[in-house]
Symmetry: D2
C-alpha cells in the first residue's frame, strides 16, 4: 500500500513538493550493468520542462537531474537509483492568496479533508511538478526495454479541435510546441490557446501514447493485466479523467465482427489485419502496437473567479495567480510516454521472472 | 506481483477456470465480527448469474456460493474467507472446434503466446465466469462499507443507443433484464439485441457505476489514488477497453471555469454546485458521489466466421458455438458494482490505518 | 499487507480453520508447462500427516489434496493453482472445555485480544493444521526448483538431547518417526518422548533445513535478502521462537578470522573452505549449501493444569484434552522444508526477473 | 518485490552507497500532523554515529540529516518524507586493494555473483552505513508510536562474555560506549575489545531489544505475524545471523508447563506470571513486553590475512585496511531499536486499518 510508489519489480517511489527544496525518486529493481549517466536522463526531462513556450507555465526550472546512488563507473549496479532535482524557481508568495481558500476543481480541498494539513505552496505534493520524476524514471525504463521498443506520444485533441489522423507525422511531433502530429492543426491550436490564455482560462486535451515493438506475452490474468496496469498508470497522472486502449469507448458501438482483429501468418510471422484491441488481449500483449489514450481536464488554476470557501468556511471568490499551464495536456505527453515505459519495463521483468524468456514458437 | 489478487488491506485472490471443477476466491483482511452468511452473498450472485434472459448466455449455472472459512457462528473472525462455487453446467465439447484455433479478438492466442499452454474449454481462466467471484467478494465489501454507502450501477449504452439521462430511474434498473435506467430505451434495446443475436453477432456497451455516501478522504497521492485504483479495477474486468471518471473524456473539451465545481457551505456542510470531478480530486474522495463509466467491447465469441489461424499456423475461419452473451455488458453491471465496492472497502481500511478515523471539521 | 499470503512472484495464500469444512491454498505465479498431478503433492503431505506414530497427534486425517484449478491435461498453465484438503476427522466436542477459557502459552487469548472473536475449535486458524497447505505449496515449489536443488530437513534436538553430527545420516532420517539423522539418538528420544507423553506434557525441539545445489545470486539487498526472508518464513511456522543461519548465535562468539570462509578455485569452480555463512553473504546465496535452524517451543496444549482465566475473567485451571503432539517439532520438519522450497522458488523467479539468467563467469 | 523497502503501511525505502555522494530514505505512510523537525531525528543518529569511541570505526561522519519533503511548518503532511545524509568523510583510496579481490565472509563476492558489478568502495550498498537511514526512519516511527511505547536496546554479549541479568540497569546503558546494561561487565569488554583491536581482528555480539507498553493485538495470522516480521526486520540488518523471541532457542529445552505463561487478572487488568513468549502469541502482541535478541557475526574486514581469490580467479591473501568496527554489534543496538520501532509502527497502522481501534474489554 505504498501510496507513492508504482511498479513491482521495476519500482519507482517519488517524493517532494512543488516548493520544497527538491523533488526526487528512487528507482528500485533496475537490472545491473546498464550504462546510465545523467546525460541520458536529461533530454527526456527537457521535453517536459516548463518555461519553454508561451503555452506552458512560465516557471523556469532548469530541472537538472542528479544521480545519487545505484550507478558505479557509468553503469547501473542493481541497487536503488536515487534521482534528485533541486527546486530553484519557486515563487511561493504567489500562493499567499490561496493558502486559506480552496480552488474549485483542485486537489487542495481534498488534501485538507484527508490530512487536515497541506503544503499549499504551488500545490505542494499535488503539483504537476512531481511528474518530472516520472519522466526521469521513464528514461531508465527505456534503457531496460532497449531500442527494439519504441514509445512515442502525441497530443491529439485540445478542446474540440482534434488532429486529422490522415495527416499524422511523427516527425511533425518534434517540430511544434504541442507534440502535435498534424502540421495543419498547429496554427489552429496556437490561435485557440492564445485566446484561452488571454481569457485567463484553461482547456482540456487528449494524449495518445503508442508503443511499438513490444513482444507478445507481457501482462497476466486477472489482476496483473497489462491494460489494467496501464489504466492505473495513466489515471495516476495529474488531471487525467479517462483512459482507453485500442478502440476504447468506441468499442461500445461495434459488433463482434467489426471489432475482431483477423489473424494470419505473414512469412511465418504472426500478424493481424487490424488493431482494434490496441495490442492487448486478455490483459496480455500480442506483439501489435500498444495504443493508449487519456483525457486531461483543464487546470483549475485560472484567473477567472470561482465561487468557493476559505478554510474558515466563509464564501469567497478564488483566483489563482501563480504561473500555470493554459493546457496541462501539452506537458502530459512526455509524462504519458514515461508511464508507458515504466509499466512495460515492470511487466517485462515480471514476465521474465515467471516465464524465463520470450517463447519461440509459431506464435512468436 | 500477485497477478490474481487485487486490493491491499482488503485483498481478494480469485482462482478457477470456466470448465474446471469449481471457481473460488479468498477474501483476506475482512474486519472481524461482521455478520456474514451465504445468504447474504447469494442475491448479488443471482443478479450476475447467467441463463436468466435470452440476452445472456444460456449456460445455466445455479452459482451457489459456499463459505469454507473465516466465519464462525455467523460472524467474520478476521481470518481469510474462502468462497467456492462449483461448476455444474459445463459443456466442454462445445469447444472442441476452438481447441486448436484462435478466435480473433479473444484472449486465447495471448495466453498461448505467453504460457504456451491454455485450458481452452470455455475460455479457461479468461472466461467471464471468473467475475462471479468478484461479485461474491463485492458482497462482503458492501458489508464493510455499511448502509451509508450506496453503490449502484446501470447499463447506459448498447451500440449507439444511449439512455436518456432525463428519464433516469433507479427503480427502473431493477425492472428490466438490462439494468437499464430508462424505461423507454428498454424495448429499443430488446429489438436491437434480438437482431444482434439472430445475426450470431455481439455488441459493445457502456456501464456506469455510482457510489453515494462515500466519506471524504479515501485515496492517497500519488500512486494510491482512488481514481487510478478504480481505473485499474474496472479495466481488469473482461472485455473492458475504456474507463472514465466524472466528466471523463468530455473534460478534454471543457474550459477551466466550465469544469470547476464551485464550493459552498450548506447549513455548515461542505457542498459543491456540480460534480464534474466525479467525486474525486487529487486522487482523494471529496464526499460527492463517485461516478465511473467503462466501455465493454463486443464478445469475440460469435457465429460469424472470422479469418484466423490454427495452432499449426494454417489459415482457418473460426466460428464460436458455445453459449455466449450477445452483449456481455449487461452482466458487467453487477461486476462493476462489485469492483467499486471492493476498491472502496480497501481504501476505507487504508485510510483508517493512516488517519485513524474520519476527521471531523468544517470540511467534513 | 495480505496477512495470509507469502512470497511475491511465487505467492501462496492459505485459508481454513482446524475444524471447518476444509483447508486450502492458492498458489499464484507458478510458471506454466510444469507437469503436476495430485500424486506429485501427496507424498509430501503424507510425511507431515498426523496419526502416524504415537509421538504425534492421534487425529487421523487422510489429508487427500485436490487440485481445483491451474492445471490442464497434467501441466500447470500459469494461472493460479487452487489446492483443497477436506477436514474429515474433527472432534470439536473435545474443545468445549476450552471454548471459554485461555490456554496459557496458546494463541487463543491473542486472537480474542485482536479480533474479539475466535473459532476455538481445535485452535481454529492458529492450528498447526494450516501447515499442511504449506507442505502442499512446497511440493509445487520443489517442481519449479527442479532436481538440481535438494532440500532436506532433520530434527536435531528434543529438549536437551541433541544429535551427534558425526553420526549424521540422511538415510537414517527416513528410517525413524522423528526425522532423526542420528540412529543412536532414536531410542533415547523414544524413551524421553514416551515419558513426556505419559506426563501429559510436551517438549520443544530444534529443526535444521539444508538446501544444496542452490545457485549463487538468489536474494537481494537490503530488505529482500534471502536470509531475512527465510527468517520470516521459518518464524511464521506455528510455535517457532528462534531462527538462525549458518553459525547463527554461535557467530557471536567467533573472531573475524574464525568466521571467515576462505575462498579458492577448485578446477575453475568457486569454492569455500568452510561454511560459517550458511550459504548466504550480504543477503545473497553464494552457491554453498544453505543451512537454517529453528527452535520450536513445546505445545501449550497439555494435560497438566495451568492457571488461567476464562473469558469472564474468572480464575480457572486449564487442561487441554484434544489430541496433541507431545513434540510439535517432529512434524515441523517437512513444514520447514516446504518454507525453504517456497522461499527459494520465489527468489529464483525474482532473480530471473531482474537478472534474466544465471550469470556464467569465473564466479559461477 | 521492492528489495530496498520494508513495511507496508509505514513503508521505508533506503538508497545509497557507502562512498557515494549521499545516502537517504523515503518514509511513506507517516500519518499527518505529527510534529517533526531534523532536531527530533538527529539525536538517534548521533547514538549510531561512527567515530565516537575507539571501539567503533574511526570514520568520522557528522551524519547530519536533512528533511527534503513531507513536512510543512514543522508538521508531517501525510506525504512521503525524504531524508538525506551527505557522505563527507569517504576515503575511497583505502579500498583500492580490495577492488579486485574478495574478502572472505563479506558480501562483495555475492554482489559480483548476482550483479556482475559492484561499487567496492567501502562496501558500497552492503556497508553498514545504510543503517543510518534505518535509525532516521526509526525516529519517525517512534513519533507515531508515542510516548506510551518505550523501545530500548542493549548489548548483552561480546564473544563469550555475557552480561549478568541480575545487574541489568537501563541507566547504565547510557553510561558506557557499549550500550552495556551491566556496569561490571564494561571494563571486561574494554579489555577484551582492546585486545581484539590490537590483533587486527573482530568479534561477534548479541543485542537485545525490548519494547514496553505495546498494546495487545498487533500482528496477524498467518504470514503477517508480528514475530515473523520482526525476525525479517532484524535478520535484514548487516551481519545478523540469528534472531530469537522470548525464550528463543532455549524454548527447545522446555516442557509445556515450564514454557506456559500463566494468566490472571490483576485489578481487572490482564496479567501474566512470566513472559517466556516474549510478548507475542500466535503472531499477535499480548500487551506484555516484546523481547527480541539477535546475533551479529564478527565483521569480515580485518587485518589478519585471509585466503581468497581476485576477480581473475588468482589465489591471494586479503587484508582489509579501511576503518572498521572491531565489534559491529555495538552500533547495531540503535539499529535494532529502529527496526523494532518501524515494525511496530507498521503493524499499529495495519491493525488500526483492519480493526479500527484498540478494543476495550476485559482482555484489554
Amino acid at each position: 500500500m505504498s501510496c507513492n510508489s508504482f511498479g513491482t519489480l521495476f519500482r519507482v517511489t517519488t517524493w517532494g513538493e512543488s516548493h520544497g527544496p527538491a523533488i526526487g525518486c528512487v528507482v528500485d529493481g533496475c537490472p545491473p550493468q546498464i550504462p546510465l549517466t545523467e546525460k541520458m536522463i536529461q533530454p527526456w526531462l527537457d521535453l517536459r520542462r516548463p518555461g519553454q513556450s508561451k503555452f506552458t507555465t512560465t516557471r523556469n526550472e532548469p530541472d537538472q537531474v542528479k544521480i545519487l546512488s545505484g550507478v558505479f563507473e557509468g553503469k547501473t549496479t542493481g541497487t536503488p537509483i536515487s534521482l534528485l532535482i533541486e527546486n530553484t524557481n519557486q515563487r511561493s508568495k504567489d500562493y499567499s492568496n490561496i493558502a486559506q481558500s480552496y480552488r474549485p476543481g483542485h486537489a487542495d480541498i481534498a488534501y485538507d479533508l484527508k490530512y487536515g494539513i497541506r503544503d499549499y505552496r504551488g500545490g505542494g505534493r499535488s503539483s504537476a511538478r512531481e511528474t518530472a520524476m516520472r519522466v526521469a524514471a521513464g528514461a531508465i525504463a527505456r534503457l531496460i526495454l532497449g531500442d527494439q521498443i519504441k514509445i512515442r506520444g502525441a497530443l491529439v485533441q485540445i478542446g474540440d479541435l482534434k488532429v486529422n489522423r490522415d495527416r499524422w507525422s511523427w516527425d511533425e511531433v518534434k517540430n511544434n510546441e504541442f507534440f502535435c502530429p498534424d502540421a495543419e492543426m498547429v496554427p489552429q491550436w496556437q490561435d485557440y490557446l492564445t485566446s484561452i490564455r488571454k481569457d485567463g482560462s484553461s482547456i482540456g486535451a487528449v494524449i495518445e501514447i503508442i508503443a511499438e515493438g513490444v513482444p507478445a506475452g507481457l501482462g497476466a490474468p486477472i489482476y496483473g493485466k497489462l491494460d489494467s496496469d496501464l489504466a492505473q498508470a495513466m489515471m495516476s497522472i495529474n488531471a487525467v479523467k479517462g483512459v482507453e486502449i485500442g478502440e476504447g469507448f468506441n468499442a461500445a458501438t461495434l459488433r463482434g465482427e467489426e471489432n475482431a482483429d483477423p489473424i494470419y501468418l505473414n512469412d511465418g510471422k504472426l500478424s493481424f489485419s487490424s488493431n482494434h484491441a490496441g495490442g492487448i488481449l486478455g490483459g496480455i500483449s500480442t506483439g501489435q502496437p500498444i495504443n493508449v489514450r487519456f483525457a486531461v481536464k483543464p487546470t483549475s488554476s485560472i484567473l477567472i473567479p470561482q465561487p468557493s470557501i476559505d478554510s474558515e468556511g466563509n464564501a469567497t471568490d478564488v483566483i489563482t495567480k501563480g504561473r500555470h499551464d493554459p493546457c496541462v495536456g501539452i506537458r502530459a505527453v512526455p509524462v504519458g510516454e514515461a508511464m508507458m515505459a515504466c509499466t512495460l519495463a515492470d511487466h517485462w521483468l515480471r514476465h521474465r521472472g515467471q516465464i524465463g524468456q520470450f517463447r519461440s514458437s509459431i506464435l512468436d
